[in-house]
Symmetry: C2
Subunit: 585 residues, 2 copies
């Protein structure tokens, strides 16, 4: 046996297999996932696995490598999040999201940092050696809400779109703030003295990291869209480009110490509409499906590894510090949401209700990002305390908050996501109102969101589309695209229903129709049958035809070697429909 040779791919494949099988296992019992979120179950599996490894080897099980997390596990999840981001609610609430993500995160970092420093001054806790900077550093890594954990929980509770995008958008965009503050405090910890210049540079750096990330993302997104212009002859590698360019964009951003998460989201949101117009339908299915699959596996692996990494001897259990960390995380987040929402509600027509505020505060789950950041800390004597505190905060938020949030949502009767898609009427009205508001904003000289949206749309159709889309594919309006999608779906349903052999349910209607079609042979007076055929025989024929004819007629052109399908068929089809339509009018 030559295990050495295949070890690396073999073990990776086995871990992924374990994750997938665990996922299947949970879903075999229908009741389990509806009570306990999948993330909790996965961490639990991880804890058991870690326990087994610990028991067998008598040493700490391997910890999730931060590099593996940031380079391989996180990007698929963020790409999936960005690609399927509902852009309308996101941009409508972009101000609120940014406020929560930037000001809220800074508020939390400093709030948690300073209050923990206060706790460290209590002599009986034996924590006097933890400096203010270290507490702030810890605050910067524990303050950030985790997109992976938020997504895992919020996807299952189906709150309304606005609430979802507020929590989820914040968890994604706070990455820029977290990156800057974390790196800033880490470098401050290693400096002999901190000067005012360094603090100012840190503030400037925030803008570089955030806006730089957006620019890198948009650049890669546009290149990706441009590339798919030329893939018409080799459809098979189209999906690849979406993945390759997004990943390159993430890596490039990380390389320049920009926010990779922000970059990949900008890239995915930027390229989506152009790529979708350029690529084939099957490529698109593959992209969607594979993205979901990949992010689902990454997600599963992250939670299992979180569980595995919890077991072991990496922890220093100073209970007061850990206890107050959990408390402060809850308090400062609640306070932050209250204060910020107060300002949001003052300046925004579309207010955030009290219930929403509670869910936003309560939904601030921590996850694998905190965990990876705490392991990336430089070695110092209290690192194990920070690891223990982070682990407890993550487990507390995922288990306690994650499991109680669904009952709370039900209890508070928080507005849920509407089940059905908006009707065409609604969509047309929304579109109409957008134009109207853009016009009003233009006349009144107010540069609001509708004004900018209108300008962007103009720029898009005037320049971007001409460069990024193939000439033959004229850009279609979203209504037409929606229509096409529904038409396809309907056709599929029809085909499936047709082959199930649905016999007509109203024989009488069929009967008269059958006779009507014979009207040039037999004289029809008022739609009743005459005696040309015995009614019994007729009904028999009808049944046989109804069961078989529809199919044969449809499939003949596809089978036939001597005729090309498609050309004459639809016209005939349209005619048939037309006739029937008139009959029923």
């Amino acid at each position: 046996v030559d295990y050495q040779h295949v070890q690396v791919p073999f073990e990776i494949t086995l871990w992924i297999m374990l994750a997938s099988l665990a996922k299947i296992g949970f879903h075999l019992y229908n009741k389990l996932p509806s009570v306990v979120p999948e993330s909790c179950l996965l961490i639990f599996v991880g804890l058991i696995m870690g326990g087994i490894i610990y028991g067998l080897n008598d040493k700490s099980p391997p910890v999730m490598d931060s590099d593996i997390f940031f380079l391989y596990l996180l990007p698929p999840i963020v790409l999936d999040a960005g690609y399927f981001m509902p852009s309308r609610p996101f941009f409508e609430n972009i101000g609120t999201i940014l406020l929560y993500a930037v000001v809220g995160t800074i508020w939390n970092v400093f709030g948690i940092g300073f209050s923990l420093y206060g706790i460290c001054q209590v002599k009986s806790f034996h924590l006097q050696d933890v400096s203010l900077l270290h507490n702030l550093l810890f605050g910067s890594l524990i303050a950030a809400v985790d997109p992976v954990a938020v997504l895992a929980v919020f996807e299952e509770i189906h709150v309304n779109e606005k609430l979802h995008i507020l929590v989820f958008g914040e968890s994604l965009l706070n990455d820029a703030v977290t990156v800057v503050l974390y790196k800033l405090f880490r470098s401050f910890c290693e400096m002999p003295a901190v000067k005012t210049m360094d603090v100012l540079a840190g503030v400037g750096k925030f803008f570089v990291v955030g806006i730089g990330g957006i620019l890198v993302g948009l650049a890669f997104g546009m290149i990706a869209a441009f590339t798919t212009r030329f893939t018409k002859t080799i459809r098979v590698i189209e999906p690849l480009f979406v993945f390759l360019y997004s990943y390159l964009c993430y890596l490039t951003a990380e390389m320049f110490h920009l926010s990779g998460i922000v970059a990949i989201i900008a890239c995915a949101m930027g390229m989506k509409r152009y790529v979708e117009a350029n690529i084939s339908l099957k490529s698109h299915t593959t992209i969607k499906y594979f993205m979901k699959m990949w992010s689902s596996v990454s997600d599963t692996l992250i939670f299992i590894f979180l569980g595995v990494s919890t077991i072991g001897e990496n922890h220093e259990w100073n209970w007061p510090y850990i206890f107050f960390t959990v408390i402060f995380c809850l308090i400062w987040r609640a306070l932050g949401v209250l204060v910020l929402t107060f300002f949001v509600n003052r300046f925004h027509v579309n207010t955030v209700t009290g219930k929403d505020q509670f869910i936003i505060a309560y939904g601030g789950l921590r996850g694998a990002i905190c965990f990876s950041l705490v392991f990336l800390l430089p070695d110092f004597h209290r690192k194990k305390l920070f690891i223990a505190a982070t682990t407890v905060v993550i487990l507390f938020t995922v288990f306690v908050q994650g499991m109680t949030i669904r009952p709370l949502v039900d209890l508070l009767d928080v507005k849920k996501k509407r089940e059905s898609a908006p009707t065409v009427g609604e969509q047309i009205h929304i579109r109409f109102l957008d134009h109207l508001l853009a016009g009003i904003e233009d006349i009144s000289g107010h540069w609001g969101q509708y004004y900018w949206k209108d300008k962007l749309e103009y720029f898009n159709s005037k320049y971007l589309q001409k460069i990024l889309l193939r000439e033959c594919d004229q850009p279609k309006s979203s209504i037409v695209l929606l229509y096409e999608k529904l038409e396809r779906k309907h056709a599929m349903e029809l085909a499936e229903a047709g082959q199930l052999g649905h016999a007509p349910s109203q024989p009488s209607l069929l009967h008269s129709a059958f006779l009507c079609s014979n009207s040039h042979r037999s004289v029809v007076t008022d739609g009743k049958s005459d005696d040309i055929l015995n009614p019994d025989v007729l009904e028999n024929i009808q049944e046989i035809l109804a069961r078989n004819l529809f199919r044969i007629r449809r499939t003949v052109p596809a089978y036939n070697r001597h005729t090309l399908p498609g050309e004459t068929e639809p016209a005939e089809q349209a005619k048939e429909i037309l006739i029937l339509r008139h009959r029923s009018l």
Copy 2:
């Protein structure tokens, strides 16, 4: 800039990107790929890349790592080949394929090895130090036809199915022979003396490697099929299992020194029908598409790396040895095919024609497997000579044979693949004849292929299907599956044609139909219009209706919030079709 941190994934992504962009580039000019096979173009790109790297660094560019090739690049291609293997022609010609793969490869190995040893005895060539064992070792790696190269060329020339499966099947199954002979001679080279026992053990090992590979593959295939029984609630990770189990099977086989290629092919062919029945349609599209994409990228990378690795100072140019290697490769292959086909044609009803024999011999392309094996050789003083000879043989076969085989196929007028799929009539007849022949074989007591096929089918439906398929999904016959597929395809075409707004091409027919539908209001005598409506207005209405009505009628149920689509629709649809059908009769 922190390049170190992201280097590994960044460079991998860039290589894949380069490969994909090269592929797009070739296809921009339509004429190029039709003359020069893609593999040649890719090697050419690789040569240029290698030249640039060599010129810039002034040292040999990195050589394709054999581990990377065997562990990461080869499996996707073989999985793709196995999954899409046309099983009927494969099993019909399995005897011939095995004869070529086993006896033919052994013949080539010893033929090339011994005759090169003869060349080494010529004093003026300065090759006396190359021993017989080394020559045989070299023969064992250079004799094997390469599936990647064969696939790349034969996919473009569209020869008939039987010829394709003979060459391609041989290139896949000879892996077991190559693995055994290569490892045998390599260990002999390191032994002080070779005993008869070792030779006998080698012969026994061949059966272990081949049959062991098949068993490992089938075992994993069945587990994979069994796993997909339970994925109904989480469709999104279904495609993953196909990839994970196939890869695990490959790695397991490699771990036990069995033939990984044979294992993965057995796995893919074994699981295909069960997996397809269990998983959803979209999962299946994703699997198919992703497999094609992945193998296409692997393939591209392999040829580019082949080109890159050619440049550099790894070679010892002893021209006589290289020249005779090429000559002997051609001669022994041609002789082998002639002799083996003579026996095949004696015992087989379905003979291999002379033209086919020529193409089989000429299509024996060498590729990346030889290349990786030669780099895996233990270091000895003539390794660079072997590398040079292998490189030249690969380049000669891929460039000269690969580029001339298409004109030769045209010139010889070799039977091409039929363009159209078999009609339903043909399929039913084939099925019928299978049953008939199985019966005849059973009566006459001859245990031929039909007998075994029938027994296998019985075993499958009696036991395997019950274990591996979900209960609710009753196994459907392949005719029904084909029908469903055609129905879906047709429905999609219909939907697409419908939304393109095809106006009816025969207005007169439409006209009369329109009037007929009004027959209960107006009196129609012979299909001509009366004066109820102005003809101009009528035509106008017709046009509007023809453009819009078909769509609206179809999409209304999908849009409407208050009704459920699907239930009553198809019946109505069937009725409409029925009426029209009768009109046209």
